[in-house]
């Protein structure tokens, strides 16, 4: 009886062993197949990575260190840098002052025609900046349908204020998008409870919603700043490309390449590149859109 039982369990063990071996063989085949597919897929990845690296090397190796330092120190580069910084920061302030309050309203209220407004607000994100600039030019140009806007346009067009107009047009919807998403992500329960605890709506915004949405808003602000710094198309239409007047960093690259002066162009390009890189790191740290990579 016990012998029989032992035989039986021995037989079962053998069967199990065989099954396990088969499974392992199958798993091995599976792994093998997956590996060869991955090798094929690695080719396009390598192409992309190499292309980016080539761009970086191409820019970096263009000038010797001495030439680079000279170009960085040139009056034109410094002017462009200063102008880009001041205009982009002013634009950013405008974008935040308009975008964040609008986002708070949109995140909390269901208004009729919401879908239409939403689509309209998304349009500047996909609209080519050149087209946006063209539109701005017509709205405040000399033939503007609204005469007061034409008078305003006389002040703004082809001036440094025009740069701010173009940049803030682009930056505002970016801030608004990010802030709306951040406010919507805050559990409305917090807002409700804060109300019952005696916090007025303004204090709820200040003490609850802003701190909780702060990270997302900040990431949006940094992204908007990066876009404002690199803004070219709309600026070209509204403010023109006048050397040492409306010459932002992108404009300086355009003007100097057009006249064959690679030094200043490359210096400005490297400044933009390194700024963009720093901003990217900041966005990552804030947990904004750029950090949403597959972690699984």
């Amino acid at each position: 009886m016990t012998d029989l039982a032992r035989d039986l369990t021995g037989e079962q063990a053998k069967v199990r062993e065989r099954e396990r071996a088969q499974e392992q063989a199958k798993a091995g085949q599976g792994r093998h197949a997956a590996l060869s597919l991955d090798l094929v897929l690695a080719v396009p990845l390598a192409v992309i990575v190499l292309a980016i690296a080539a761009v970086l090397v191409g820019l970096g190796a263009r000038l010797t260190l001495g030439e680079l330092m000279a170009s960085l120190g040139s009056a034109e580069t410094l002017f462009a840098l200063r102008l880009s910084l001041t205009t982009s920061l002013v634009s950013l302030a405008i974008a935040v002052l308009l975008g964040v309050p609008a986002a708070y309203l949109l995140a909390r209220r269901r208004v009729p025609g919401m879908a239409l407004i939403d689509t309209l607000l998304d349009l500047p994100l996909v609209m080519p900046p050149l087209v946006a600039g063209l539109g701005l030019l017509f709205v405040i140009g000399r033939q503007s349908p609204v005469p007061p806007l034409a008078r305003l346009g006389a002040e703004l067009l082809f001036s440094q204020a025009g740069i701010v107009l173009a940049q803030s047009f682009v930056a505002t919807t970016i801030v608004l998008r990010a802030a709306k998403a951040a406010f919507s992500a805050v559990d409305p329960g917090y807002r409700a409870v804060a109300g019952t605890l005696g916090l007025s709506p303004a204090r709820v915004l200040w003490s609850i919603d802003l701190p909780l949405a702060g990270g997302g808003i900040a990431a949006g602000v940094v992204l908007a700043w990066a876009r404002a710094l690199g803004e070219f198309g709309a600026t070209l239409m509204v403010a023109g490309a006048t050397r040492m007047h409306t010459e932002t960093l992108p404009m300086a690259i355009f003007l100097n390449i057009a006249t064959g002066e690679t030094g200043v162009a490359v210096a400005c390009a490297l400044v933009l590149l390194s700024t963009a890189f720093v901003l990217l790191l900041i966005i990552r740290a804030l947990g904004g859109p750029a950090s949403q990579r597959g972690h699984s």
Binding site: A192, V193, G195, G198, L199
Partner: protein, 534 residues
């Protein structure tokens, strides 16, 4: 109807009155909570309980009026209502510390800013979480978060507390402790409180008044005692709530002691081949509803077995009170639904079982009460003189009544009677010593019926003296002598002890009364009603 007195913000004792409230699922809800009262609303999820709280908190548009410390409450924005609202998911602000959460709630209170830290700490202290003041809500346990949310709602001295399922996310032990504390806090602060819960025991344990919400309407709630167990949990009901009297409500008495086979056999004795009356009347398929009602004050026993019996016959038990529950006359303690055939099949056996078992439990309960009125520490044990064949349910009944079991049988205890000693020729000291050595881990109990004999046995070293049919004075004498001798012999009294003389025997100072009297007497009186289900 009294007018709502007091002013919101100063008088804590404001009453709450609602009328004609309609919002979402709510239909014409009316209610009133007295100043300082605690009203609980029970009901299934989705019935509108949380919606009602949101309406009162000002978080939902609605029809109807709300008065709280004056009319026009419904027109105030939430932040002017001076309420303490604890939602089901608590909503502690994750970016603020526990103390920071409380600080936010003080902004609009009448307390001067200089008093805030003291006020916050006092409130945290009251809920025993002062040591967590500087922690973020994400870094404390569920029970601590619950306390923090209660503290935050209380700190501004609201005139009305609204609690939404305050203990639903906690383990039963923590929930029970917090329930007790909430009741204490409520009694101390006299806060008008409205609580919603799906836990009936919680509602009846905490609240002054309980209403039931179903499909957005409020109606009076019936108390269903101890258990509202669903079908699948009948075989292992939850422990009864601590809020009720523990002395007659012990956990072990709520277990089923009879197996399904035994219950089937009991039913089969009564209905071996079908229920002829129900069959010839042709009413078997009608949907029916049955209730068991106690006619007198009763300590229940056997309700689990009755419920299981009904279920084995395909009835559906909606609720029943656990064994050990003391119910008042007129209390419905079991409700079931099913076809008329299934209920008619079992009701009589189920009811009779409950009647006999509850009779024993009720008498045991009265005996225990009588004995403890004279000596709160005395034990009361029932003998094994139960009707033969009914030991399991008899033991359960004795324990449901709050008494204990003297001897379960012969195999495990040593009790020497004169019928044993008649065979012994060795001197007393010798057989006592030998018996103690033979069963070293048992207590040696010996029965005596005279004072001198008892003293001799005590001197010989027996562990327990069982004094049989001795008068009260003689028992007292034995207790006194044992004490005078400095012996640790346990003195117990037995024979003829009943509800009338239990107190007198208990007063003698003996350690235990042993009695069979609870087995003899009228069964408890239960009324069973079977009606067509409307």
């Amino acid at each position: 109807m009294t007018a709502c007195g007091g002013r919101s913000g100063t008088g804590r004792l404001s009453c709450l009155r609602l009328g004609g409230i309609g919002a979402g699922i709510l239909k014409d809800v009316e209610l009133e909570v007295a100043p300082g009262g605690l009203l609980a609303i029970i009901g299934p999820s989705g019935a509108g309980k949380s919606t009602l709280l949101k309406v009162i908190a000002g978080l939902m548009p609605h029809r109807g009026f709300i008065e709280c410390g004056g009319p026009g409450f419904e027109r105030l924005p939430p932040y002017l209502r001076n309420i303490g609202y604890v939602p089901q998911d608590l909503c502690l602000f994750p970016h603020k510390t526990v103390a920071g959460n409380l600080r936010l709630a003080l902004g609009r209170s009448r307390f001067a800013k200089a008093d805030w830290p003291g006020r916050i700490m006092a409130c945290l202290d009251m809920l025993r979480i002062a040591h967590l003041a500087d922690r973020l809500p994400g870094r404390i346990s569920g029970g601590e978060r619950q306390r923090a949310a209660l503290a935050r709602a209380l700190v501004g001295e609201p005139s009305l507390m609204l609690l939404d399922e305050p203990f639903s996310s906690l383990d039963p032990e923590t929930a029970e402790r917090l329930r007790g504390e909430l009741r204490t806090i409520h009694d101390r602060l006299g806060l008008t409180t409205l609580m919603v819960t799906h836990n009936m025991d919680e509602a009846f344990g905490l609240a002054d008044r309980v209403l039931r919400m179903e499909d957005g309407r409020l109606r009076p709630a019936e108390r269903r005692l101890c258990g509202t167990f669903r079908r699948e949990s009948i075989s292992r009901p939850e422990a009864p709530d601590a809020v009720r009297d523990r002395s007659t409500c012990q956990e072990q008495t709520t277990m089923i002691t009879l197996s399904d086979a035994e219950l089937d056999a009991l039913v089969a004795q009564d209905v071996p081949m079908g229920d002829l009356t129900t069959d010839i009347l042709g009413i078997g398929a009608e949907p029916a509803r049955m209730t068991f009602t106690a006619r007198d004050e009763t300590v229940l026993c056997g309700s689990e077995e009755a419920a299981r019996m009904i279920e084995l016959a395909d009835g559906r038990v909606l609720s029943f009170a656990a064994s050990g529950t003391r119910v008042a006359p007129g209390t419905v303690f079991l409700e079931a639904e099913g076809s008329a055939a299934s209920l008619h099949r079992t009701w009589k056996v189920a009811m009779t079982l409950v009647e006999y078992a509850s009779g024993i439990a009720t008498r045991a309960g009265r005996l225990v009460a009588a004995a403890r009125s004279a000596n709160p520490d005395i034990g009361v044990a029932c003998t094994r003189k139960n009707f033969p064949g009914t030991k399991a349910i008899s033991v359960k009944a004795v324990m449901a009544g709050g008494a204990s079991i003297h001897r379960l049988g012969l195999s495990e205890t040593v009790l020497v009677f004169p019928n044993h000693t008649a065979f012994l020729s060795a001197p007393l000291e010798a057989w006592v010593a030998r018996a103690k050595a033979q069963a070293a881990e048992k207590k040696l109990m010996v029965e005596a019926d005279e004072v001198e004999e008892a003293e001799a046995l005590a001197r010989a070293g027996v562990d327990v003296l069982q004094l049989d049919k001795m008068p009260v004075a003689a028992v007292a004498e034995v207790v006194a002598r044992v004490k005078r001798l400095g012996l640790s012999t346990v003195v117990t009294a037995t024979g003829g002890i009943n509800e009338e003389n239990a107190a007198a025997y208990a007063a003698t100072g003996c350690a235990l009364l042993v009695t069979s009297s609870c087995y003899f007497g009228r069964p408890a009186d239960v009324k069973a009603t079977i009606l067509p289900k409307e």
